[in-house]
Symmetry: D2
Subunit: 270 residues, 4 copies
């Protein structure tokens, strides 16, 4: 049968990314306690395509995912991408893996356990310009408004907010990206809000968190700065982007704040 | 050209609803101040199909919408549906119109004006069993947790919540559905929460609402009951469904409560 | 500490459903091959609340989920719900579990394997009126338009469509709901479209499916009827709802069709 | 009352963007025929914040929108942003406006009229580094797979796809951004797919489009290149990003391709 994709193209226009998106697969990832956890990923895989080739071979992306889905994490992704690059004869290959990552939480007073899910994302790229690796996580927190507290005789509006952190790992002596755990990013984000949130809270926990939030008011501006200040001096981190959005309880819109450090970067912004 | 849709079918299976969904159109609706407002609707239109017909004629739905889109409201919908029913030679015709509806809000202390959008939905049906008309609106409110307030020395967690109200109008003496204004449903919902929300609030308004919410703690259970109690005795309302969902500020999940009155009904539940 | 929820309420208004929604948990479910699969669920849990109680105890929902999340399927759900009902001292308890369910697919010609995810939902309820159990699945298929094929000299527009099936199981001699496998519903849905879809297809498979779709044109009306006709005579099924929606390739809106059999039912419609 | 936002901050961390998102407002925009159209916008407004200020004044964003919402388009946005910058005493101010934009379409054979909505987005920024203006639009098209056509005896799979175009206008002699009409971008996108899509098509139109798509097969790679080649030589355009995604009818995932020209840029990528 004809291989239409292998035909040539004359528009003199290389393609930055071509591939598949919205591919859902069960995957197994490693977590900090060195155990493995099973979760479900939404994947986007792509390669670059030189100007003279008409098309890429989409089915090979699925073959690579199917082969490797039992072992996807920061350590194996580089190898999976290399295999993608070879199989598709591409200069550049890239994988994005979005997944809920589960962490056991212990309620602050009752000590009751539950599992909390965090939306995470790994983005890895291999290219002649060097490899790249980004980890992202969305951390829900409580924020209590400093202005509302200061101007009211009692009470203060508060709400759920989301702290989105993206970090690009620096290279270690081996040339490999340094390891930053999702759990570490969660800790920084939770420490920057007025209080953390939990799936399971008994009354004594609710009392504790209510007063903790009132004692730690924070604007979106405070949260985004606190996270950036907590990560910018970490030598494992070469670049970061923090976005905080709070679902204001007195409005039907959100407040948000964003920091790029040391500056904006063109890659991985979507 | 062949009219495939007019062919016959032998599976002895009538179809309850067949039509188009996700049709977006600019529309003009009437608001309580007797002015017209321009907004954008997401529409679903359908008819019933007897067991012996193979298919319906989808393009006619769009023709009807295009013809009438400048004048869609509670008063004109019955006529539009009748035209749909005739044009598609159907026993039953049904239109769902989902739209943002804008209401001018005045901040409680500063008296500053802004426009707030409410997700609304009209569902109208004409059939041999009689006509039907449902109005639905989603109203954001603040809720402040009575438990958190009672057990804490200071503060109380609060959050944005959504009150979804659906009402089926009763028939007036003329046989037409009685008019219930979106604005009336919004008022009931806002009165049932701990405090209303606004797009534009100055500091003096924020102080007012912060303390008002603290003075009026309400569980989802309280809000849903208050709305049902406020509407069930209104003679213009034959049936209602209320759902309250609060985006808990101490969790990453929601609390919710629902009441059907006088009971669940099979129609219009989706 | 004060138990605010246990206080009484005087509005004479019972609540149909009160609980938590949007709770994401890793769960393990049983699949037809008798193996277990790990996936991620979005859960909604609720109970009824008599008119005289102010509130329910939300944290107990999470405790029940945390205790049982390693074993959730059609066989264990009744027990989990009973435990919920007891723990919350409620007349009625209800659990909805939405999850991606993975099935191994074999490409029709190349025989290559891949995993395909299907959005599924279990709804189970225990109440004095009797227990209830509903299984739902969304199956993507290809549909090729019979009209477009008939009136064109060559080609025919086709597109991805979704077949949503909900079935309520009948009772077996033991009084328990009869088992209907997700895999069986998928088979009926795939047989009703113009062709099934797969994650991984090589060129020979693509050729096979392209021609199979052209040989089997089907309107949404045909697909919805074919599914209803294929399930309505199954004695394990007491009630069903089928909805087919096709992402028309010649429009930016969808076509859809729905059948309820033997009729509409008020429960579980949302 | 205390102005908490005006307090100072010692973390030495400026904030790139701080403001409000998810603000929905009815707006009036200008279209190519020099008439105005009413639509509904989802807005994001932000400013930069120097390291020594604690917070910005969120309510002022809403005041600016309320004042100007009847006149928002490429010509007035610069003025609105300047007013925002002044009012918030910021170095940099930025507005994103996402809206459905309606264009009248004429069916190819029957000549019947209908309105089609296109998701558009304007992003405008004023800063000491110079002003910036980006226009984006999503255009649905049909794509028919060249491979499927080539290897099959008859038929070819086809589907709806979305062409997302973002262009940054170059400066005219006056220093203002040059005008690029949404309608022009739509034309380029529709010309690059296998066939355009319409809300309203009669049978003769469906026949026409079915055969036109079969005569013009196009991979995502072809579409993305065709759009880039059609815009890169337009002197009004300084930068562009094109992304094409097709809702494959033989898969439950998408194929996609992206081109940045002349290269990736850090701004406006989200």
């Amino acid at each position: 049968m004809e291989d239409v994709q292998n035909q040539s193209d004359s528009r003199e226009q290389p393609i930055d990314l071509v591939g598949v998106s919205g591919l859902r697969y069960p995957i197994t990832v490693r977590d900090r306690t060195r155990q493995r956890q099973s979760t479900v990923a939404d994947m986007t895989l792509s390669v670059s395509l030189p100007h003279h080739f008409k098309g890429t071979h989409m089915s090979r992306f699925i073959e690579v995912v199917h082969l490797h889905h039992r072992q996807i994490d920061m350590e194996t992704l580089p190898e999976i991408i290399s295999s993608l690059r070879t199989k598709l004869e591409a200069e550049r290959a890239r994988i994005e893996v979005a997944l809920p990552y589960f962490v056991e939480k212990t309620a602050p007073v009752s000590q009751q356990k539950s599992l909390m899910s965090y939306d995470c994302r790994y983005v890895a790229e291999v290219s002649p310009d060097g490899d790249d690796f980004v980890v992202a996580v969305r951390v829900p927190v409580t924020t209590l408004c400093p202005c509302s507290k200061a101007i009211s005789d009692y009470g203060a509006h508060n709400q759920r907010g989301y702290v989105d952190i993206e970090v690009r790992a620096s290279r270690g002596p081996s040339g490999l990206p340094r390891m930053v755990w999702i759990e570490e990013l969660i800790e920084v984000a939770e420490g920057a809000g007025s209080a953390p949130v939990y799936p399971l809270l008994k009354r004594e926990d609710e009392r504790n968190l209510t007063m903790r939030a009132y004692d730690n008011p924070a604007f979106v501006e405070d949260v985004v700065r606190q996270v950036a200040a907590g990560l910018r001096d970490d030598s494992r981190i070469a670049w970061l982007h923090v976005r905080v959005e709070t679902l204001e309880s007195i409005h039907d819109h959100s407040a948000f704040a964003e920091i790029y450090w040391p500056d904006k970067r063109p890659d991985y912004d979507r």
